[in-house]
């Protein structure tokens, strides 16, 4: 009996150790990124953990480097890149909402020919290798004048945000009993009032979570702005690469830029914890 208790306790300790070990692996890079961003250039190569923290890097990427020598690429474009990311990500989510909310509703409520095929086609956007569409678009966009514009990037980002919104919202609409609508219809409410006053409030948590998650995925994309954009629409993900590949290695600047560029997603992640699983699995797992 006593050995059983000891065994059980030992098992619990081993389990805890394994769990902590994994989380060290998962969180250390993020911790290290913050650490790097606080290092001055002098201490960058000489110390690992003990150093005098400084906010110079943040100051430099946000307001320009006061001590930058001539010829050094001063990275003041960061605020612009950040704004580009904000515009592109919010734009994509807004377009997806306008287009996707009705689509999700139709796919949840009506039975019609080609319904499942259509739904699956939207889903296949999510899994399709983006280059199949991006390579031809790189030619078409130049002809149409959409290359390096917000419209162009927002349009193609529907590949990422639209399937997410349609599939997640469809699963939320399916959870709402059709009887609620029918009751409202019998009471003589017009369809748009039923939709905006009754249905949308019922799926609001799903709507908010799916939009925020779509925002994060749009924010995180790299290939679309890399190939279909240039200086005008450069996002934080594309510009981050520049810090490392430039002749002078601005490792600490890059870390500071990364911290700021990762901040919105962390807030989102914490605020939609409860709905994350359903969002990440496109409604397949209700969590």
């Amino acid at each position: 009996m006593e050995t059983k208790v000891i065994n059980k306790r030992a098992g619990r300790i081993i389990a805890d150790v394994l769990m902590v070990a994994y989380f060290l692996f998962a969180l250390f890079p993020i911790f290290w990124m913050v650490l790097m961003s606080l290092k001055s250039t002098d201490e960058l190569f000489t110390t690992q953990f003990v150093f005098k923290p400084t906010l110079d890097n943040y100051h430099a990427i946000l307001f320009g480097d006061p001590r930058a020598a001539a010829g050094v690429v001063a990275k003041q474009e960061f605020p612009r890149n950040f704004m580009n990311s904000v515009i592109i990500s919010s734009g994509s989510v807004i377009v997806s909402l306008i287009v996707g909310v009705p689509a999700a509703y139709a796919l949840a409520r009506y039975n019609f020919k080609a319904k499942e095929n259509l739904a699956f086609t939207f889903l296949s956007f999510r899994f399709a290798p983006e280059l199949v569409v991006i390579i031809p678009l790189s030619v078409i966009y130049r002809k149409l004048g959409l290359y390096d514009t917000y419209y162009g990037i927002i349009w193609v980002l529907q590949l990422i945000t639209l399937p997410l919104l349609i599939w997640v919202l469809r699963s939320y609409f399916e959870d709402v009993s059709p009887e609620i609508e029918q009751a409202a219809m019998v009471d003589g409410y017009p369809w748009w009032r039923i939709f905006f006053r009754i249905l949308l409030p019922l799926v609001r948590p799903g709507l908010a979570a799916a939009s925020l998650l779509a925002f994060v995925f749009a924010w995180n994309t790299f290939m679309f702005p890399l190939i279909l954009g240039a200086s005008q629409v450069q996002t934080v993900t594309v510009s981050a690469l520049g810090y490392v590949s430039s002749a002078q290695a601005f490792f600490n600047r890059m870390a500071a830029a990364s911290v700021i560029a990762s901040f919105p997603q962390m807030i989102v992640a914490l605020s939609i914890q409860r709905y994350l699983i359903r969002g990440l699995s496109f409604g397949a797992v209700k969590g």
Partner: protein
Amino acid sequence: MHASSRDLPQARTQLPFLVRARPYLILLPALLILVGILIPFGMGVYYSLTTYALNRPGSLDNFVGLRNYDRMIHSSGFINSTTITLKYALSATIVELLLGLGIAILLNRDTLLAKILQTTLIFPMMVAPVIGTLIWKLMMQPSVGILNPILNTVGLPSLQWASVPETALFSVVLVDVWMFTPFAALILLAGLRSFPREPFEAARVDGASLWFTFRNLTLPMLTPYIIIVVLFRFMDSLKQFDIIFAMTEGGPGNTLMTYQLTAYRTSIQYLRLAQGLPYAVMLFFAIYITSQYLVKFWGKAQRRAAGYSS
């Protein structure tokens, strides 16, 4: 309409056009986007059947059928591309699935520590893949990096990580595992939490071993969740671009030239659209067919698992 016509049976079965068309009308904006995506896709497939290269005028009019595909299959890099694409996707998916299952089981114990740690589980997945990879690249870097000093402290020799062919694949898969194991863990954890208690209690009362319970209860009930993880992770890692591009751009040499990287390099960097596109088109169909198959399999597994809990 005549009042008595409502009593006719034909009129009842044949709904007015506007009612029948309603779902399509509601879907119309989404269908427009769909068409706007499918047109470039179709053009891409067409380009791949020509000799289109941006630096050769008139090459678009030269229709050559499947010659580019034939050339791709017989090119020297094709075998390497195929192997590296599959190796990357398989190893990342398998490690993420197994590690994720372990983490899910550990987190399912509902201790205070597990609850606290669980809130941070999603963080690696929320960082942009490019930025996450750059952080790892810095950690692997010889001058400012931290990974080699850590290896040395525990008595292991330094590694050259992604800069030599021997460890390049390991380095990028490591980043993929770091980034996406949380996805596997979250989905599987949701699965574990959805299980009914009764069968597990019955198994315990009957004195079934942990392994027996796992194999005969947990695993079959978890299958739909496992398929979801495999669906997302395998499809995504087959087409992984950001991690490999940010780490080495496909190098050293052509060690990491997967289908996606090859398509990018040939079509975008060398401007030979028609030559790069077959890689992307082939990958598209491979992913399309596999995902459709997995989705069907998922539906079946879900029905089977439902049998266990009722």
